[in-house]
Symmetry: C2
């Protein structure tokens, strides 16, 4: 018998191209795939399906977190109220040298996966060291993950010799290729200011050869160009483009300090951008030109960044912050209306990761990454527009059910992951 | 027998002048008053006290929300992504004319009181019409409230003849003076652009005569001066000060568009300011100069504003937004560190409302407005600094117990208010 799940009585926010909302909808999952969805009564309920009553709930694609460093939850709140360079070089790198081990990576990545799932995120894109521990944590928790092994020109956790950094990442990708349909290995070059041109080019070529996503922090702070040897008066985006780094299998993280010429490059190359509003705000790194990127047609998703600079992984809170930040920054209440923000956190993120054929919307044939959000709590009543309720009212703690690849991993707000059932 | 409550094993954030934190502390409440607090073992546990085990929790003063319009939860999400004047004049005022009745005010104020209590707010300062319904809702829910009756030079709900606006507010204050120690009546003049000079001066004098707080929206948008007849080229603060409005029983709400001269006036007069970051952001009204106000020594509290412009009443989320917004706006990650933000949301708010002798800190002799926040949930682990955990990690839904005036109104995250017990 097929493994069937039937969700009924919910408000279906499909987040598909046509942005359709089905007020009282049903959805059928079979063997991890969305097989059918439509208004109540339009889809017969299979006799043996497991039934979820979504009355009073929104049913929507799981949220996609485009940029995390999951093991860094260990450093949540360790060093706040500091600028990026002080925070990173004086606090985080030393703490990592001391405390990051395969065991601590596995433990805190697992912890973070649970935090993500409990707050409605079904897919994340991570970049860290000891990538095996992160990917194993994902497998155990049941989340979908792009897992990036870090490349940096310093001695790093698990890669004491920087000369081996790209080779270690390549080996990681090979170990995880084809191992689980939920884990997509990736190469994560830390940044243009911590990786030489040779490292950038070699790592980029390796990712192309392996056919995996290439992630990199780009233009996070205004002073970044001054820290890049031979950058000259070029922008960081131009510098990377001149090296042939940027293409449509590339995820550019942050892009705070970019101008229209940079946007034109990013758009032309088809790269994705991960916008990390809360982290950028907390580190006072700057405010990314998100409305401009959207106008330019750039593929854009949201990321929380690591818990050490946020300090949480709740994409519901991030959505509210993104909407309000850019309204304030642009002095225009019309920018980033709720529906657009929910699109960024779902289909937009899936596109930025190159996964939109698989996930990001409730669409027949896509994998079943689905969440239910209870709109009946006092802080969400009344509901005029479910998108506004999700962005400006809902918290991760309002998520009641989380399904990844057809498997229920959160039920009634509690984890029920693979190794719990 | 005295009504006793004994809280033990918690991390006590006193928020008192000395900012002391008691890592493993006990606190005794007797007849609604904080009678003693100190390290474990320093206070004998009375034999008949009701005991609350706060292990793994922060114990802190309840949050103070300095600006709300509680019945407006009815309009939560009704009209988003609009500028203030369109939102207010084309959507909210018409909706109020149609839907605001004594019954709807009572119902939605009650609803909002429950949202506030469930998210850890024990005292709010409200301004609306049909003030009796709001105050009655507060009494029923068990929250502490400064309840303001609105004054505006238009026909308003319950005050069809604007000529009666001040008289109606005076009658409201008289009805509620001395009725309950939890309800402080107040006069809420809507704004200098919706009230004439005569109305402002008369209402201000009435509040002084009645010895109650005078609340007013001030300098919310940049265009405000152009809407005030005879304001000339004066700032709004200067205009009000020239009318003799501003003193130390005055709460100035918003103060987004103020300069250093305005701050000097506010400081000199001793008025309090309610900062409503999320509402200002959502309406793109501007960014208030909060670090400047703090440097100037102005008494400052936080407000959510109404649910129609936020769209929630969660002060935990507001704290995170306040910290991150001003770090971003000032390009300085050092501003509004977590401990300062928690102070704004507790003692700062109590001062702004003139209630700091009664509430705002865990101090012997103050009334027992206390909350417990569970720091053990995945998104709050580990804890290096409880203030950072509260500001950047905690949500209203992490509040487990809420005590107002010694009475437990939320227990294990569920309401247990006066009319429930």
């Amino acid at each position: 018998m097929a493994n069937q799940l039937f969700i009924r009585n919910g408000i279906l926010l499909t987040m598909a191209e046509d942005s359709s909302v089905i007020e009282n909808g049903s959805l059928l999952v079979e063997d991890g795939e969305i097989r059918a969805l439509g208004p109540a009564g339009s889809i017969p309920m299979p006799a043996r399906a497991r039934v979820i009553d979504a009355a009073g709930c929104v049913v929507m694609p799981g949220l996609v977190n485009c940029h995390t460093h999951l093991p860094m939850s260990l450093f949540r709140g360790l060093a706040d109220d500091l600028p990026l360079d002080v925070w990173l070089f004086e606090h985080i790198f030393p703490a990592e040298a001391e405390q990051i081990t395969p065991a601590s990576v596995r433990k805190w990545a697992r912890h973070s996966c649970e935090e993500l799932l409990l707050s409605g995120t079904t897919c994340c894109c991570d970049g860290y060291f000891y990538g095996d521990g992160v990917a194993e944590a994902a497998l155990l928790s049941g989340i979908r993950m792009v897992a990036g092994q870090g490349v940096i020109d310093f001695p790093a956790p698990g890669v004491p010799d920087p000369k081996q950094n790209v080779a270690a990442a390549v080996e990681f990708v090979r170990r995880w290729t084809g191992r689980s349909s939920l884990i997509m290995p990736s190469i994560f070059c830390h940044s243009p200011y911590t990786c030489s041109q040779a490292t950038l080019v070699t790592a980029r070529q390796a990712a192309r050869d392996l056919n995996v996503l290439f992630q990199i922090h780009v233009a996070e702070t205004g002073a970044e160009t001054t820290k890049i040897p031979r950058c000259g008066d070029r922008s960081v985006v131009r510098y990377l483009d001149d090296l042939g780094i940027i293409d449509d299998t590339c995820l550019l993280v942050h892009c705070v300090w970019i101008d229209e010429a940079d946007m034109a490059i990013i758009k032309k190359r088809g790269a994705g951008v991960a916008h990390c509003a809360e982290s950028n705000m907390k580190l006072a790194a700057g405010i990314a030109p998100v409305p401009g990127m959207m106008d330019a047609g750039i593929t854009l998703g949201l990321g929380t960044d690591g818990s050490a600079s946020n300090n949480n992984l709740d994409l519901f809170q991030e959505m509210d912050m993104v909407s309000k930040l850019h309204k304030a920054a642009c002095a225009d209440p019309g920018v980033l209306a709720a529906r657009k923000v929910v699109t960024l956190a779902t289909l937009g993120g899936a596109r930025a990761l190159g996964l939109d054929r698989k996930i990001g919307s409730l669409t027949r044939g896509k994998r079943a990454d689905i969440i239910l959000v209870n709109l009946g709590k006092p802080h969400l009543v009344p509901v005029y527009d479910p998108f506004a309720s999700l962005v400006h009212g809902a918290k991760g703690s309002d998520v009641t059910h989380v399904i990844v690849d057809g498997r229920m991993v959160v039920e009634n707000g509690e984890l029920t992951g693979p190794d719990r059932s």
